[in-house]
Structures are given as C-alpha cells and as structure tokens.
Subunit: 537 residues, 2 copies
C-alpha cells in the first residue's frame, strides 16, 4: 500500500507536535512533510528569558530536523493551497522559485500574528514577543537605551530612554515585564550615570486585573510582586497610539518612552486571510474532529483553528472553544494525529477534549504564580515548579540540557550586556551578473524594481501566438514596475547579455514610494500600457 502523504504547514506547537505524533502513531501508513519558514521550533514561553539574556537564543530553540529526524522538512513560504487539486504552492530558496507540493492530507498550523493596526503607530513603534527575532530585538533595544541614558546630557531624552512600557497583562506581558526588570537590575552597575530610581517600568493592562486566566488572589500576588520590583502597574488602561518617543493611553494620558512592548492584539495572518476559507473570529472553523468545515482532508489546529470544546460529550464550562495555549496545541496535535490515522485506515474519528493541568506564570526574581490541579502556589516554590515543567516540555534532550546549563550558569555568571550589531540592511542592492546569468525565469517572483547601472540585459517573452519577443535593457532602463503594481508573476525571462550591474529596490519599498510620493506615481502612470504591447515584460 502506498503511504498517504500528510503535509503540515507550520512548525510551532501545533504543527511540530502533529508531525511528531503522526510519525509515532502512523509511520507505517503515513509519510509526513513539514513546511516551515524557520528551521527551528521555538518554545514561546521562554522568549522573555531570551530577551533578558537568561538564556542564549540558540540554546533555547530546537532545530526542526533534530526534533523530527524522520520527517521531511521543507524550509519555504507557502503562497497558496489548491484544495481541489490537493497541491500547495511554495516559494523556496531565495524566495524566488515556485514549487508545487502535492498532498493527500494537509494540516494548517500557522498560528496567529500580532495585528495592532487599530492602534496608530503601534505596528511601527512597538515591539512584539512572538518569535526569536522579537526577543533579540527587545534585548538589543533595551541595552541601546541604557547606553544612551548613560551618556546623554538631555534630561528629557534620558527619561524617555529609561521608561519601559509593556502593554498587556496576560502571561506574556507579565513574564516579559518580570524578566525585563530583573535584567536591568542585574546590569545597571555597568552604567555609572544611571541611578536605580531613574528606571521606570510600566505595565499597562486593559482589564481590572493581571493574569485574568488565573484566580484573583494570584493576580493580586502578581501585582504586589511587580510593584515590589519597582514596576508601576496601570490596570483598566487601554492603549491608544504610539510614536518612537511616546505612548498614549485611552484615558488621554501620554507617556514619554522609547520602549514599548505589546503582547496583545492577535489576528489572522495574511496567509490565513488569503486562503479561500470563511474565517470565524479570525480563525479557521473546524469540527470537533479537527477537520476544516466543508473541505476534504484539510485539518487545522493550534492558534489558527477555532476548535469547539467538549468534555464528557458536552460543551465544557471553561469555554466554548479551545484556548490558544501551548498545552492545548500539544494535546490537539495528539488527537489530530490519531484522527488522520483513523481516516486513512477507515476507523472512526474522536472528538477533541482536554482538561488542562493548570497554569503558570513567572514574575522574575525567582518568583512565580501557579495553579496545578486546582491548587494555587506562589513564590519560590511555584517558580521552581515553573522551571521544572518547562524543561520537561522542551523538545529534544540536547535542548533541555542546554537550557538547564544556561539556567545554572545564570546564577553565578554576570549577565552580559553585549548589544549585537544589527546592521540595518538598505532597501536597495547593487546586484552583479556575469554574462549569461539568468536574472529571472517566467513564473518566478520578482525581487523588486530593477534599474540597469552597467552592461546590458535581454528580456525574452513568448506571446500568445508563440512568437518570441526580445527587448534589450541598457544603463538607465528599468523593469519590474508593472509586475509589482499588478502583483503578478513574471512572464518573461531576463538574462545578462554581458557582465552588468543592476540596482534593485525591494518590492515593499517600491510600493510604498509609489503610494506616497506622487512624482513617482505620475512617472509610471505616464509610461502607460502601450509600452508593453509589443515587448511585454
């Protein structure tokens, strides 16, 4: 019997563990391929510790190929899914080559993204905590603020540099604030011109308590613990807008600050919205078997899926839908793997149900709050339990060992304040081509707007009648504007006729400039469509 091919899109808790369980339960019946844009699994609850430097970034994540040695891993970006033909279209390599991946079953596990577009300026000026890059960005930014505060003679600038705002009082917000404060406390001795009392950490929460998923007494403990650590906790405060130097709240207050981290505002990714699916609450509605409603052999789980919850055959009293947590995603992955196997082998499918074990939140400085099997715990004991549980949940023995060693050394080693150079990459690149090298082939995705600097390039297009049209591009000539503006794939082939150089403006930058800078818009409009009638590009 030929194995069924299951393609999983997404390598987070839902997708990663679905691949793991599918291989565990059904290696004989099912071939698994996982498509991910990152080649590693990131244990998101540890991101605040990476941001604070407790953990090294590389040590806290697990390469997918290590976590899933028997699974085919494809590092690529999914562009579309043809549910009728059962084919996934991906961009791989340098994000130009389009490849078709066929499947028997597809699992959508792409999670959600932070969508702050309803708060002006937040998308541009606030940091998030969803991925490794976010944690590293926050860490570097905080160190940069301390370095600036230490040398500046401008009092107002110093104050803004030392005000650190976290918006969101859930698990991620509280843990980020706890770690941030501990990091600053442990590194401040390096900055002789900053007094501890000049540091202003502010936690903003829209609701009337922190950690609303936990018992009220634990919320109160968290508030008191953060206040003792020097944090100003503002409850019942919504965010309104942000700039590089300030944050406005809905009650009309303005906070001068250079650092804003936002842990709220989840929404569907552009990919999810691009699928031909009716989203509900920004998620893909699935039935209790985790099958996407109205489609065959399409499954979804994790934060991307809206999963009805049952317990003992009826809706639970906790919530109508499964909450977007790691614990649930792992459990969903287990059900999903069993249900796909059942479907492939003609067995009956099981409804998803799960009763979570509890909840934990670290507050920094060796304190945490926990609810386990209905019991509440606070302080050092909860914190030890928090660390033990996380070590247990990490995939891969070597990752566990690395994290444990990082934690051990963090006790007796000073925190480092290395600010990693992030070279800001420009929006333009000078690209060299040797004679005969291909710039792009028909059907590829164009990288931006091209202007020839030196040499000559030839575009070859085969028109509807099968005739081959050639057009030469010399220094000063340009191509790509029509493809970018219409968001279409290339129809022609461009080759370097001799050694040459082009200047490429990245697609996103080209579109922004055309949208906002009218002279550019007018110039391209003036070229009109005629230009392409005989030598289509």
């Amino acid at each position: 019997m030929k194995k069924s091919k299951v393609v999983i899109i997404g390598g987070g808790f839902g997708g990663g563990f679905a691949a793991k369980y599918l291989h565990k339960y059904a290696a004989a019946e099912i071939e698994v391929e996982l498509i991910s844009q990152r080649n590693y699994f990131v244990f998101q609850p540890l991101l605040p510790e990476i941001a604070s430097g407790t953990l090294n970034a590389q040590d806290a994540v697990t390469p997918l190929r290590l976590m899933l040695p028997q699974v085919k891993i494809r590092l690529a970006e999914v562009k579309s899914i043809d549910f009728a033909q059962k084919v996934i279209t991906v961009l791989q390599g340098r994000k130009t080559v389009v490849v078709q991946v066929p499947y028997d079953h597809v699992v959508i596990a792409t999670g959600q993204v932070t969508d702050l577009s309803m708060f002006p300026g937040f998308t541009q000026h606030s940091m998030t905590m969803n991925d490794l890059a976010d944690a590293q960005r926050l860490r570097n930014h905080v160190i940069q603020c301390l370095e600036l505060a230490d040398i500046t003679l401008n009092a107002q600038l110093k104050k803004a540099a030392l005000t650190f705002v976290v918006a969101g009082g859930g698990f991620s917000g509280v843990e980020t604030m706890g770690e941030l404060v501990e990091m600053i406390r442990r590194t401040l001795h390096h900055y002789p011109n900053i007094a501890p009392e000049e540091i202003k950490p502010i936690l903003i929460q829209r609701g009337d308590r922190l950690l609303p998923e936990m018992q009220p007494e634990l919320s109160e403990y968290a508030v008191q613990s953060l206040i003792r650590a020097g944090v100003e906790v503002r409850l019942k405060t919504g965010i309104s807008s942000a700039t590089a130097m300030s944050l406005a709240t809905q009650d009309g207050q303005s906070i001068q600050c250079m650092t804003t981290v936002t842990t709220i505002g989840n929404g569907p990714s552009g990919f999810l919205r691009s699928l031909d699916l009716q989203l509900v609450k920004g998620k893909i509605p699935v039935n209790a078997n985790l099958e996407v409603v109205d489609l065959d052999n399409v499954w979804a789980l994790g934060d991307a899926a809206l999963i009805p919850m049952e317990a003992n055959g009826k809706l639970t009293d906790l919530s109508t839908y499964a909450p977007p947590t790691a614990q649930f995603a792992v459990r969903e992955a287990q059900f999903l793997a069993k249900n796909i196997l059942a479907k492939v082998t003609g067995q009956s499918l099981q409804h998803f149900h799960y009763r979570p074990l509890g909840a934990l939140a670290s507050l920094g400085s060796y304190r945490a709050v926990a609810t386990i099997f209905g019991f509440s715990l606070t302080g050092l004991l909860a914190w030890i339990m928090w660390r033990g549980l996380y070590i247990g949940m990490l995939p891969g023995f070597s990752t566990r060992l690395r994290v444990a060693l990082n934690w051990l050394f963090d006790y007796f080693m000073p925190r480092t304040i290395v600010q990693m150079a992030h070279a800001e990459s420009p929006g333009t690149d000078y690209i060299h081509y040797a004679k005969g090298e291909v710039v792009f082939l028909p059907g590829e995705v164009i990288q931006g707007f091209y202007t020839v600097v030196t040499g000559s390039f030839v575009m070859e297009v085969v028109d509807d009648s099968g005739q081959c049209l050639l057009k030469e591009y010399l220094p000063g000539d340009h191509w790509g504007e029509r493809i970018l503006q219409k968001e279409i794939a290339t129809t022609g082939k461009v080759v370097a006729k001799e050694d040459g150089v082009v200047l490429v403006l990245k697609s996103e930058d080209f579109k922004r400039l055309c949208a906002e800078f009218k002279p550019l818009q007018d110039y391209f409009a003036s070229l009109g469509e005629d230009r392409y009638s005989s030598n289509a590009q």
Copy 2:
C-alpha cells in the same frame, strides 16, 4: 592637578588595551574615555568558531563596560576630529544627535576595513570575517544553503548551494575554511538528501603557499590537512569578480557557488580617509613613539597606524613596520599608555619595539600549526596550545569561563543548525509623530528623504537676518532631498503640527536611486534652488 583627558577612538585590540593600560599605569594622572560603535570587545581570531557554531556569539565577546569598568564608555560614531581645537564630533543615540567631546590627547585605534572595490561584485556578493555580524551572517547563510540543497530538484542550483569558496590563505582564511568544513561535517546527518561527496569547499590563495607568515613545512602541513578534510586548495590563483551565483578567478576560470568568503583586501575606513591626515599605505604614519607625525597630542596604534619597528635601536630584520596582528596591537597599547603618561608628566618617551612570541593557526578537526619561540608544532598538540593561548588572551574572567564551557560542551553536544531569522529590514519606514513632537532640530543629521502621508508638519528656519521663516508640509509634500544631496546638516527645525505620519526613505537608498534612476534625478533637478530661497529647508 586636573587630570589629562585621553579619548580613545575604537574598542578593538589597540583601543581596548590602550584604555586598560592607561587606567592601570596612570589612573591618578589621566581620565580615559573610549568611543566605540559597538559596546563589546570582539576577539577576532575566534570569529571562525562563532561562524561554525563552536562558540555562542554572546559568549565569545566581552562587553567593554565589563572589560574596562573604570573607563567612560561612549557608544557613538565619530564624524570628525578638530585637531586644532582638540574636539571630537560624534553622533550618538539614534545616530541623529551631534555631540562635541573635548580631549587633551586623542588615540586613533579604528583599525582597517575590508575594501574589495577593485574586484567587481565582491563588495556585494562576498562575505567578510571582521566582526560578529559577519560570523553570524556566514553561519546563517551556510545553513540556508544546506536547507535549500536538501529540498531543491534543480541539480545546478544544488551544486552551487554546496560549493563554499574562501578567498585568502592567511590565518583568517585557513581558520575559516577549517571551521566551515568541520561544521558541515558535523551537521550533514540532518540533511538526508545531501551526500558528503557533494560538498565542495574550495580555498583560493593568490600566493604559492598558505600561511605565508609561517615556515614552509607548516604551510605544507596545512595544505595536506585541509585536503584530507575534503578541501580543494587552489594556490597561485587570484580572484577577479563575483555574482550571487558565481566567482571568477584571474586565470579565467568560473566557479558556480552561492557562498564566497573573502579574508583579504584591507584598506583604510571612510573615517580614516575623512581625517585631515596624509595616509601612507592606507594607514596613519606615526613616529616610533606612536605619535602621529606633525600633530600634537594625537596618537595612533593597531591596524590603523603605520608604525616603524625597531629592535635594539635599529630596524628589525622582520619588517620595517609593525604587522597588523592582535599580538602587536596589545604590545603597542602598552607602549602607548606609558608614552602618554610620560608626556603628561614630562618624562622621556620610549620607542616601540617587540619580538613576537610566535604564530598559531587552527585547521579545524583538532589540528593546528604553531611556531613558538622558533619551534614548530603541528597536529593535536599545537591545537591544544592554540586553545590554551586564546583562553589566556581573552579579556575578562567571565568571558574565559564562557568560552571554556562552550568548548567543553561542543565535545559531547550535537552542533545546532538553528538559522536565526534575520528579518530583512526595508529601506523605508512609516514614522508616526504625536502633535508637538520634534522631527529634527537644527544641526542634527537627517535620517533620509521624508514624504508626508497624513497630518501636517511645520518647518521653522531662522535666516541670516534673524527672521523666522515658517513652511507647512501637508500630505504629498516632501523634504530632505537638498540636505541629502549636498550632505549638509539640517538648518531648520521640523515639528508635527498635529498627529501625523511620514514615509522615510533611508539616506543611502535615496542617494542610490537618485544616482541610477534618471526620472527621479530629473524631478529633483526641476525643483531647482529657487524653492528654497524664501523658505530654506
């Protein structure tokens, strides 16, 4: 007595150790400030090990504030030095605010940069190994090539992805190649579709042997060791040009490859060239006391300085000038500190002299070559000595411990293949301003070319007669082009009149587009100078 203020520019071996020795010898007489663009000291000989993942990036560098706890550290970029007024102009913070730093003595220790402009395409398509960011870039790039080679069905692309070229057969090139090969060997089991024999590492050296600074028999050992590890060594081969997919050598050969690392081609930095100094061989000529020729209280050391060598009062037989190595820079720093103290206290100055202890090069896979006090060593023993010596040379106990632990764990832990997400930052940014916020002040450095998207902004300029001119900018209006094209500082002040958004195109991208894309050039030329006569910007 008021202390003399010594400002050191550069935090590498020369600058970092000069600060250390100045504090050690002359804390009572001298106040030291160090200006650096990075907040850490990087031990460059370890960069190949960071690239290969033997060492964690954060663990292998030492924060300057940890290395030099008593020294004032200023994270800033130096724009110019006024030798007559004894003032240094720096850009600090977000690289916009100009600050003046006065000095009694200034030490220039900014090193050299890689200048590959004589080899077309190398600046754009070849990686270097000078800084932490380079090591991380190489690491991520190699992993990306392996990921692509594992999934692509295009044989030509796969071959290019698995061909890794290092140009330069000195210490840096040989060590980079050794580490690269070991990294690939230890991670290849994760990539089921790549056979070991498909990996093509090629080392290109212009001269007729590797490691020309060492004895011929050690050069030969290095060649044989690399060949055994699967490396193709091409001697007497110069590089000619590069593209993203190929490299051409001077003998007319072309190599299809996606990875090129170049460890040759040192030249003066833009900063060094901008100083009002007559450079010789791309360096600052100093006398044997390390004083810059024809200037008072200006010193230079390390790779940026051309230092005449003496031994026993006469030129050594080794070389006329001190070679650009870490060993020499540290020794120069010691002489420099003593000479500055001598100058401040009216003592006589000493001529620089030094006899190096030896030279070491790691070949990867537990092998090295070494010359110590005239003796030659090869293999495991040399390799152990190499590690021991490097640990000893690292500044800071905690850095030594971190590196030692990294080395220890590297024996029994698998190499990780985590490819860190480098989010490519665009060349344009939408920046939000709240009413009343300042976009820039007179004298600041402009960040790019601004187009107003929403809101309104007011520019205020005080003209020569003291009259204040106001100009309002509404959506679609733009500013900054004249300042960028003329490379001048802002003369006006821009403030948000109400909440608003601007699109900013980074300076470098603006200049490149104006240079290559004629319609844009024409548009700005058509605006002419008149536009600014009454409301100068």
